[in-house]
């Protein structure tokens, strides 16, 4: 397995290199200039030029690229042109809220999707099945920000059960932290849960028609046991695959959710950095997101062994 992991990790290097080059060029081709934003509304052209010079933005594009690649090779993502803070430190400060939000959303999505998908498969064609699929369709087609504002209106502003915004760090207690993540987690989980519920249903339906399931029923095994112990495990591989693929959707959703719920995570950092044309931060974040995506998919592939002993790496 280790050679496989190493091979997979090595194959990510050209991918990351391409992503890095693409992001670098994309940012430079986007209209906007961080020096102008830093200088403020009253700055003169000369003051802006001075800042541009200090930040190295007046150097030729190739020179800037070579300098950045050199930094990357040393594990240095550079410094934010806006706050002058190291990008790695800036990202480090924002990892916890995003990781917690993603974790809560993932747990919520699985808690919603697995039972609903299973019930829909077992009761295929019934009113319950149609209701679950309607819920999945609604969840999948509702934009995250619409779901978010509806949740805030009902559960925060009207009922007052949860805060409207903000993140309580883990250092201030697990319960307050989780309390601050209920609504954003739910808003983010909806899309993910809808996708997973549909996949769970489809995958389970296929497994439930297998011979060994019929045999288990014929042997008198209780229906719940047949579904939960035998069928669900064999239906797991497509579900786990979608969990992995869905991480990309989750990361995209984090950007919106963190803005709507004012969570100071990587998503907020991304939008702020883009609006300020903070090139080093955007570049660093895209690379980090790419690495997360690659690693999650690798973990998903490795987890297949747990569900199907025939798979060997």
């Amino acid at each position: 397995m280790i050679p496989y992991i190493l091979r997979r990790l090595a194959s990510t290097i050209p991918v990351l290199a391409f992503v890095a080059l693409f992001v670098f060029l994309l940012l430079r081709l986007t209209p906007g200039d961080p020096a102008v934003l830093i200088a403020g509304d009253q700055a003169t052209t000369a003051q802006i030029e001075t800042i541009r010079e200090q930040l190295g933005l007046n150097r030729p594009l190739v020179e800037q690229l070579v300098s950045w690649v050199g930094q990357l090779a040393r594990g240095d993502l550079g410094r934010s042109v806006f706050s002058d803070m190291e990008v790695t430190r800036l990202i480090g400060l924002r990892v916890e809220p995003t990781a917690m939000l993603a974790l809560v959303a993932l747990v919520m999505a699985l808690a919603i999707a697995l039972p609903l998908g299973t019930i829909a498969a077992v009761k295929a064609g019934s009113a319950v099945d149609r209701a679950v699929m309607a819920f999945a369709m609604l969840g999948f087609s509702s934009p995250v920000f619409v779901v978010a504002f509806l949740l805030v209106y009902v559960f925060a502003l009207t009922l007052g059960w949860f805060p409207t915004q903000g993140y309580v760090p883990l250092s201030q207690g697990l319960l307050p932290c989780l309390n601050s993540l209920v609504l954003p987690g739910l808003a983010l989980a909806m899309l993910y849960a809808s996708l997973l519920a549909r996949i769970t249903r489809a995958s389970l339906l296929e497994v439930l028609s297998e011979d060994y399931v019929r045999t288990a029923h014929a042997k008198g095994v209780r229906p719940q046991r047949v579904v939960l112990r035998h069928a669900l495990k064999n239906a797991a591989i497509p579900i786990v695959t979608v969990v992995g693929v869905g991480i990309a959707a989750l990361l995209g959703g984090v950007v919106v959710t963190e803005t709507v719920f004012n969570i100071p995570g990587l998503g907020r950092l991304t939008t702020d950095a883009i609006l300020r044309r903070d090139y080093p931060v955007v570049q660093g974040l895209i690379l980090v997101f790419s690495v997360i995506y690659v690693v999650v998919n690798l973990l998903v592939d490795l987890s297949y062994v747990l569900f199907d002993p025939r798979i060997r790496y």
């Binding site: 830093i38 509304d41 052209t45 400060l93 409207t164 915004q165 207690g173 319960l175």
Partner: protein, 520 residues
């Protein structure tokens, strides 16, 4: 028994987690959603208003402007001027202390003012007129001018960017082309740097060593009493999120409440609405390129713009805007209506015809997320109505602020006009006026060029008294009505929403948080 023990353990753990999350009960915390984020800690190196506001939290100044616009002593106990008007002596108040518990000395003042004088426009002028600036003794600063210069107090009590704040000499020794990183000041609040998270939160604590003046707080002057233990600036980019937080009582103040949310906030009895600061809407034309390098065409725009119409597009509440036919803010001592024409579309159309305009494209930039966007749409339609070929281009502020630096023709990424909203302190008198400056390449984007305005602005600093300065301000306006460096689309108020249990909020045009008390 074992079950009981496990339950007790779980209950104790839950209680411990809850207790850990409770804030210190004795602390009163003012939670504010500011309009932006804090980029740097140095109020002497940038005109960024957030950095200026940070400056007011942490630092103090020798003089400050009161609500009537008068400059009053702040760190200064007394001052005197020699009969020749050249030698000024300032004596510091007793008990002035930096946040590192070191006394504020005249040497700190000299070092700070010299650093400020390298960067700020007014500071540079003061230094250009200065023969010497010295610490005569630990509490006395002596300023000797080369020639008579009438704006010494105005410069030292300058209300907006860049602020002549006083910092320890060891920090003021930082070259003015580098930002300071140590925010030790002698103001009413101290920065809690370890809690500063860029893009998320900035925390200030009450400075126990600060000695406020005995007078009542008035504008930016008077006693700066910190009446809360902490002020937290919570950065929230989304206005709807901030409004939700205000309605739920999670924040105390929402700076710059968008006009379309004022109605919602007013319906909530727990929320009060107050004016925050006045802005002037500036329709800025690019004079380095056709068609606005044509003076007649600029005069046509001046004649065209009906402030009432553009202001109503921003907010339909007369209390929140002022039809202000002047280049100066209406409540400025230099306000004058002299020569200002009444809006007349027919006259504007005639001027367009006289200008020789041949349908050249006018690229109008609009940052749609800003307060000025509704004004822009109205002006665009007014221009189309008199036959101008307007190419309206919507974008974000980041793109606009970069695009406006271009002097290229519109076909090569240039621009013809945009709207901006400078704050009152930058639009109140000829010298510091952002948009009246007509010194060509050194002027604000749009680069108007007029020797006569520049001569008048220079003479403003040597006028003997306020009446003399008012006369010059009027002359500048009359000349600017001919050259039209920009067109004012009116004066309007930014609004703050706050919890009704707050008392003592000041409205000096700059958001400041001393004097604010929070009742239960």
């Amino acid at each position: 028994m074992m079950l009981l023990t496990r339950r007790m353990t779980m209950a104790a753990a839950a209680m411990a987690m809850t207790m850990a999350s409770l804030p210190a009960l004795a602390q009163s915390v003012l939670k504010v959603r500011p309009f932006g984020d804090l980029r740097t800690l140095d109020p002497m190196t940038t005109s960024d208003y957030m950095v200026r506001n940070h400056g007011y939290m942490v630092y103090d100044m020798l003089f400050a402007q009161d609500s009537s616009g008068a400059i009053k002593p702040q760190m200064v106990a007394s001052y005197s001027t020699a009969p020749d008007g050249l030698t000024w002596t300032f004596v510091l108040r007793d008990g002035l202390t930096f946040h590192d518990n070191q006394p504020v000395t005249a040497a700190d003042v000299v070092a700070s003012l010299k650093r400020w004088g390298e960067k700020d426009g007014l500071g540079q002028q003061l230094m250009a007129h200065t023969a010497s600036l010295t610490a005569t003794d630990p509490k006395t600063v002596t300023l000797v001018l080369k020639d008579r210069w009438g704006l010494v107090l105005d410069a030292l009590g300058k209300p907006s960017s860049m602020l002549p704040v006083i910092m320890p000499a060891r920090i003021a020794a930082t070259p003015s082309n580098q930002n300071i990183t140590d925010a030790v000041g002698s103001g009413p609040f101290m920065l809690v740097k370890e809690e500063w998270s860029p893009g998320a939160k900035i925390v200030y604590a009450k400075a126990p060593m600060y000695q406020p003046r005995p007078e009542t707080a008035d504008g930016l002057a008077g006693g700066k009493q910190a009446k809360v233990d902490r002020v937290e600036w919570l950065i929230m980019p989304d206005a709807q999120t901030a409004l939700n937080a205000l309605q739920a009582g999670e924040i105390d103040i929402f700076e710059e409440l968008p006009p379309d949310m004022i109605g919602i906030a007013r319906k909530n009895p727990k929320i009060a609405i107050a004016k925050l600061s006045a802005l002037q809407g500036v329709f800025r034309m690019n004079q380095s390129q056709p068609p606005f390098n044509n003076q007649k065409l600029r005069q046509a725009i001046l004649r065209l713009v009906d402030q009432e119409q553009t202001l109503r597009a921003y907010v339909d509440d007369k209390a929140l805007f002022t039809n202000c036919p002047s280049f100066y803010m209406c409540d400025s001592p230099y306000f004058t209506k002299s020569g200002w024409p009444s809006p007349d579309a027919a006259a504007a159309k005639k001027l367009v015809s006289e200008s020789g305009y041949k349908g050249e494209k006018i690229v109008l930039l609009d940052a749609t997320e800003t307060a000025l966007s509704p004004h822009t749409l109205v002006v665009a339609q007014m221009m189309r109505d008199i036959g101008l070929n307007v190419d309206y281009q919507a974008m974000d502020w980041g793109t606009l602020s970069s695009r406006r630096t271009s002097k290229n023709p519109v076909e090569q990424g240039g621009w013809s006009a945009f709207l901006s909203g400078p704050a009152a302190p930058d639009m109140s008198e000829p010298l510091g006026h952002l948009a009246l400056r007509s010194n060509c390449d050194k002027a604000w984007f749009g680069w108007p060029c007029d020797d006569e305005i520049e001569k008048l602005r220079a003479s403003f600093t040597t006028a003997p008294d306020i009446e003399g300065r008012k006369t010059i301000a009027r002359q500048v306006q009359e000349r600017a009505l001919e050259t039209v460096p920009y067109v004012s689309v009116g004066q309007f108020w930014l609004v703050r929403g706050h919890q009704a249990n707050l008392a003592g909020l000041l409205t000096p045009g700059v958001p400041v948080y001393w004097n604010v008390a929070k009742s239960r």
